[in-house]
Amino acid sequence: MRSGNSLPRSLLIALLVLAALLPLVARSNQYALVLFTTVLLYGVLATAWNIIGGLAGQLDLAAGAYLGLGAFTVGTLLIRWNISPWLGMILGGLIAVGFALLIGYPLFRFGIREVWYALSSSALVEVLRVAFLIWNQVGGPMERYLPYHEWSLYHLRFATYMPFYYIMLGMLVLALVVNHRVRHSRLGYYLMALGENEDAAEVLGVNTQACKLQALALYAFLVGTAGGVYACMYGFIHPNFFSGPLSTEVAILGIVGGMGITYGPVMAAILLVSTREFLRANLGGQLESFYLVVYSVVLILIALFRPQGIATFVRGAYDRLLSRMVKE
């Protein structure tokens, strides 16, 4: 189920103001700030995934690869040459795009679809993880720490998580705008069409291969830049950033949120990631890993009752509210 229905502008602004005020509630509670920023990070990743996964229908499981490439680009440039992460983020995004095209071109050229695409993309994550473990000059088995700064905008290093929250919020807005723009453009229609049926899209004049590559590039760029911020936020880089579980979770959030619905993945990220982190923090002491059980149950419930995504539930409630107001 995909829909062009977008939320009204006033509601969007209200939500944005709310999001901007949220850290003030947390103030010096660094744990809460990390939690909020993590939710936003997943929101960015899942929103980016929505372009290739939701619109174009390609089950991509390589988010971790692009995240890691962005993180390592930013980290390496900063540690070795003292180059600002702001520049590093852009370069990281571009390197991620480069890799995406390198992988995407042969895959799409030879018509690798569906589960085979999923498997190939998930292999990319693992290949890169091992490659960076072996590559001692840049990666290696030890964490590499980014230089410490109390407050440096140039180095993107801060003693508090507060600035990262706002940077990530900015990235989320960017990702949403890109998503919305794509959804309502020629590329968006082409992606939706080829996601449904590639042959039918082709005979209507859609260059499916080129369109998929464009979608993949947009997705990789957004994830790569987010990876750069991720590295600065945690203050180190490690080959485990090329994470399979993270890649899968991004795809899950995209699917659970509602394929192709612009704000769906963010909603899923807010709901699921905060639930997960809350459970982990509160049950971690007594019932280790129990949070995963609860998390899976939540996923199963959503799959049972809202297979089109939780965004459709919210839209349904919103429509009912609207019609009731009109009646009165």
């Binding site: 020629r186 069409a193 042959d199 859609v206």
Partner: protein, 242 residues
């Protein structure tokens, strides 16, 4: 006689040991209502897929208005002016009818004019009341109309229809024939109909090509075809001609 729009020369397609098309040649002229018929497994759909670019022939050549299009990808062939509808509708299930047509309309129109083209096609195909329905919620005959509409939105010169009449009741069939005749007369679209339903072909087409076991066994007007002994034999078996 008008110029040829599509020329197929000595086309051969094999699937392993099976020869689906064996040295098939045909010529469709501009503005014509042409039809390809044949019993099940005659190679009609294979021929269709090879022309449209979804399969590549093993030998032979396909010319569109004198230009070689053999083995080109379908979107390039669509650029030139050939598109098709499928035997089993391949719907964009989650999109609305309007959105599905928009996909086709983007071929010749940019963001500014695309909505106008969509409206035009919706009016032409009489889909106004359905435009916001999703393709997964509609029935077969409407789906076929949507397939036709989105193909028309690409403004083809040559439109191939693969069994567009299959599964339709007689009323729907007559409606479809009227629409096709109108397209041919008013929009000057050359039609090539790959068909099983004889009623439709005989009533509509000017020239018919008959395939059997991957080979051309006859070609001519509906009258010639319906009395051709080889055709009757292919459809009804040996001994049917008495």
């Amino acid at each position: 006689m008008s110029a040829p729009i599509l020329q197929v020369a000595h086309l051969t397609k094999r699937f392993g040991n099976l020869i689906a098309l064996n040295d098939v040649s045909l010529e469709i002229r501009e503005g014509e209502l042409f039809s390809i018929i044949g019993p099940n497994g005659a190679g009609k759909s294979t021929l269709f897929f090879n022309i449209i670019g979804l399969q590549k022939p093993d030998a032979g050549q396909i010319l569109f208005r004198g230009m070689d299009i053999t083995g080109k990808p379908p979107h390039k062939i669509c650029d030139l002016g050939i598109t098709c509808t499928f035997q089993v509708p391949r719907a964009f299930a989650s999109m609305t009818i309007e959105e599905a047509i928009r996909v086709g309309a983007y071929k010749r129109y940019g963001e500014r004019d695309v909505a106008r083209k969509v409206d035009e096609v919706i009016a032409l195909c009489d889909l106004e009341e359905h435009r916001r329905q999703r393709c997964c919620d509609i029935g077969l005959s409407l789906l076929r109309r949507v397939e036709l509409a989105r193909a028309l939105a690409t403004e083809p010169m040559l439109l191939l229809l693969d069994e567009a009449g299959a599964g339709l009741n007689p009323t729907e069939l007559t409606e479809l024939m009227t629409v096709l005749r109108r397209l041919n007369e008013e929009q000057h679209i050359t039609l090539c109909i790959v068909e099983h339903v004889m009623q439709m072909v005989m009533g509509l087409c000017q020239r018919i090509l008959v395939l059997d076991y991957g080979e051309v066994i006859a070609e001519g007007s509906p009258q010639e075809i319906s009395t051709n002994p080889r055709v009757i034999e292919a459809y009804l078996g040996k001994g049917a001609v008495c």
